[in-house]
Symmetry: D2
Subunit: 319 residues, 4 copies
């Protein structure tokens, strides 16, 4: 193999740049040229290609976002689009493709792979919702950002004896909410996977108030309930001084943590190993603290589960 391409796709995640850097540098060390594809799958169609040299990726480890740009490309689901992409890659002499992205993006990778173009996925999304990997690149940083934000909000909550609902990212999955909630000492955490019972929440709060608890911190995933709606539900039931905060896009950006920089570097190396070794069609991740991979097919067609046990612990350590 003499030439591979790399792209980032879907929502940007801290550590994507570290993964791109690693692909380029590993390629360089092993005599393989690396082509950067800009704007994700869209760049495959538009031939938005650029040869990346080792120093083109200097200083990237610490940078959030993705230098290759990214996009969400609905059209890429069409066969004709995918054939055109493969055609463009082949014309450029590219023999394999690495796709750094989340769940949706790896569906695109699978399509290309099934059409005969050697494609590798690298698990990267702040949502941590790819089956077959314990962690995706970007999750650790996103949760650290959320936790630091909640720490700040707690200053106000404590000073005013005022409760807060904090909405974090997670449309379908509660990974961020569960982790950020546990790490920030939230009293109640709501995730999309578990239907919540507003009356139980009210009971919980009332019991806290009875025990002279000064404030309650509720962390909810956007996919469980919107903070604004939950606030209304609570206020219509009890008289409680409560405020909301929607953390939103700050969770996406920022300089990656040591964990995300390291797994990004290692995932990318393993993707190159497998691609060069003729074993494409995988998503690279980490399982049981070892860099590993599952097939693109399995990754795309299975659903990752949250750790329900954390729920119980959050309840036990809240007083």
């Amino acid at each position: 193999m003499k030439r591979v391409a790399v792209l980032t796709s879907g929502g940007d995640a801290p550590g994507m740049n570290a993964a791109v850097r690693s692909v380029v540098r590993i390629g360089n060390a092993r005599g393989i040229e690396v082509i950067g594809v800009y704007y994700g799958f869209k760049g495959l169609r538009d031939k938005n290609f650029r040869l990346l040299l080792p120093r083109d990726v200097s200083g990237l480890l610490e940078k959030g976002g993705t230098m290759l740009m990214t996009s969400r490309d609905e059209d890429f689901k069409e066969d004709s689009y995918q054939y055109m992409a493969i055609d463009n890659l082949k014309k450029e002499g590219v023999e394999g493709l690495i796709v750094i992205g989340g769940n949706g993006s790896q569906t695109g990778s699978l399509s290309l792979h099934c059409k005969g173009f050697p494609t590798m996925g690298v698990a990267s999304t702040i949502d941590n919702d790819i089956w077959g990997t314990d962690y995706t690149i970007g999750f650790d940083t996103a949760v650290n950002t959320a936790v630091q934000a909640i720490d700040k909000i707690r200053d106000t909550a404590t000073s005013h004896a005022r409760s807060f609902i904090i909405e974090v990212m997670g449309r379908d999955k509660g990974f961020i909410a569960l982790d950020a909630g546990l790490a920030s000492g939230a009293d109640i955490v709501l995730v999309p996977e578990v239907k919540f019972d507003i009356e139980k929440i009210i009971e919980n709060i009332k019991s806290g108030v009875a025990k002279k608890k000064m404030h309650h911190m509720i962390v909810c995933a956007e996919g469980a309930v919107h903070a604004q709606n939950l606030e209304q539900m609570i206020k219509s039931r009890i008289d409680l001084e409560i405020r909301i905060s929607v953390l939103g896009y700050i969770q996406r950006g920022g300089s990656p943590s040591r964990f995300d920089r390291i797994i990004a570097t290692l995932f990318a190396e393993e993707a190159m190993n497998e691609l060069i070794g003729g074993r494409a069609g995988k998503v690279i991740g980490i399982k049981d603290n070892k860099i590993t991979h599952v097939t693109l097919n399995d990754a795309v067609h299975n659903e990752k589960q949250i750790n329900y046990d954390l729920y119980r612990i959050i309840e036990e350590v809240s007083v």
Copy 2:
């Protein structure tokens, strides 16, 4: 003077704790007992008093929020309430009061002072909207927090070539928006003091798009327009990929910056100097880089103006 009281009032601000610490430590150094009043003016009525010793305020410099708790107390506007407060202070042997807070809180200080109780204000609010001082305790930290958040959002904006509207605090005043906008490289900043022209904003964006500008960053004070509304206005006029982020309460908390810790320490010392010296009825602040004071009356009845010149510069350095 043998005994003074100190309270924090209104919205909490980073550095309030540093000011409390300074009052207690300066008092100790000069042989004056300091009584902490909890929950702001409400604590005056409820006699929520506690003697503060020098080590009770150890480790406070770096902490956001306020250990004395705070509240917004609408009832305090009533004369009877104020007389009760003075009565409670006198019974406790307190000869002077220091009020650490913002604009609204200093109105309360003025009322007490006018009723004969020696009261000093210390300018502290993230809004920076007290007349007679260039900076209030908490503003520097709040803007740093906002700027770091916008830096993170810029990662996503750049990676997706997507525009953003970021709503910052500031119901009546644009100090945070103006400073955070200039420091984060915003293209457009909207403040409550200046009625904005949506058509001019659209022109600005269109001209940017024509020059192949990849994304626009708009920072708006909550009092100028809500991000959600502005988004609607823009989307109804042009086809632009745009997202919003409401920074909200994260701007209030967090460990204070060196600037806020220092002015908090110095403001509090000056408040003690003036109070002990029999020159109460002031608000302590910083003007022309010198610790200074204005009368409570002037502070409360004058309106601080933003620096309109920054507007022009924001426009000039945006491309």
Copy 3:
């Protein structure tokens, strides 16, 4: 079991407070009183005990250091001391002990356990050098701190085209150096486990200079070589503009990362589970991404190995 004691020992690590909080809160949830022992093993002899209620540990999750204080106590190796400690615990009605600390501290735990007092270890040290666990509480935060510091130094290295030697903690083990080096893009990493060859380093630098590399970043563990000595070795061999930075104690403190807060909470819960279940004599850690335990005996008498594979990768991604 009705009453357990908890102490922190050895060098402080971010997340120790989170572990203490979890012990107290889990105890409370399960009807077990928790006694805090102050100043580590020393506190066992001096009966420096205090009953900890659930709210005594409020707000602790985000705090570096340890509210229980810590010490390194050489005398604790003596049998008489240990018997006195057990005696003091029994007199207080304590039926089990949890020791939050590193390698040396768990030797103390083992001694108490072997003398018949049910003792549990919780793996906590920034050094990450306890056998049987992939991570110890504090390591993730310490490496994040080191990486952020190196990022700052890189600004200067890049601006001046000047090389740097950065000395990180690690007297016997290279875990911090290896992780911080990989995550910060160091060109060369030196660990105590591998004897380094100064001539090879010089070759490496010369080859970089020949390729117009502007600066080299060398990360060394204090146990491999002191930055000052390495600087002399290099300067005596080639003419290179090089500076040093010893990160030192900043690596110990600070607010714990989400990872350290979470494993601290889970380790402590598991320690309580095992202690209550009558299965003492373990060290709690995380292996293959699962909370787990090894016997105190195995933990203390085996040596944890660094991942030598990271070495090769650091070399490959450096250009």
Copy 4:
């Protein structure tokens, strides 16, 4: 004026990039081309010039270091060198020069100006030691970094009841030490301007120990005494558990604070105003909270004084 050049010189400081960006953008807005000179004064001799377009400086606001690179160039003191520099600038059609740097660098600016080439200084150094300005670009960020580092060290100091000596930058001036000491709650601060009395320090510590003070925090400027030496002096006189930390180069780098970004933007604009207006030969700074300037001659030949009053306050608030 149609073409100006800009360079950064001396030690890098956070905010230098923001100043470069502002020069380029303001130039663009006013129809003036801006030439970037690389590696400081050295670049003038080597004709290391590059035309900078507005988007070449995008994303620079948040970046530490300087994209223009910097150097300390001893040879620039020679007349022949300076004439060559002017010659090179003129050949390139450059009509004015902006020098972003500290005290030493402005001596270079003055030399060029005296030889007839219109030169403007922009005050930028973390040392804050330029006469005529209250703040230099980079100081606020450097002190924030130092304060955050000391906060971390305090975690360990408190947990171990152990004293610390923290050495900060400042060879000739105590601005960083004084500000960082006051903001981090240091008990003792040593600056180059004041000869310290070791016996008085020992008295101070003994008196603290007598009052059951658990640890002492000493902040010293490198120019006052090296931490290692002070440690020896103390240890030879009393038995005290004490450790040292030399903050070193981490104080130079990092993303600039809102304050440094704003003054950098405004200083650069004012430098352009003056240069274009034919009023060169100044150093731009901030005095009494207003952007202002002094002559290069005055700036270079006067010495800025620390605020001795802060000394007294540090003593008063320490217990």
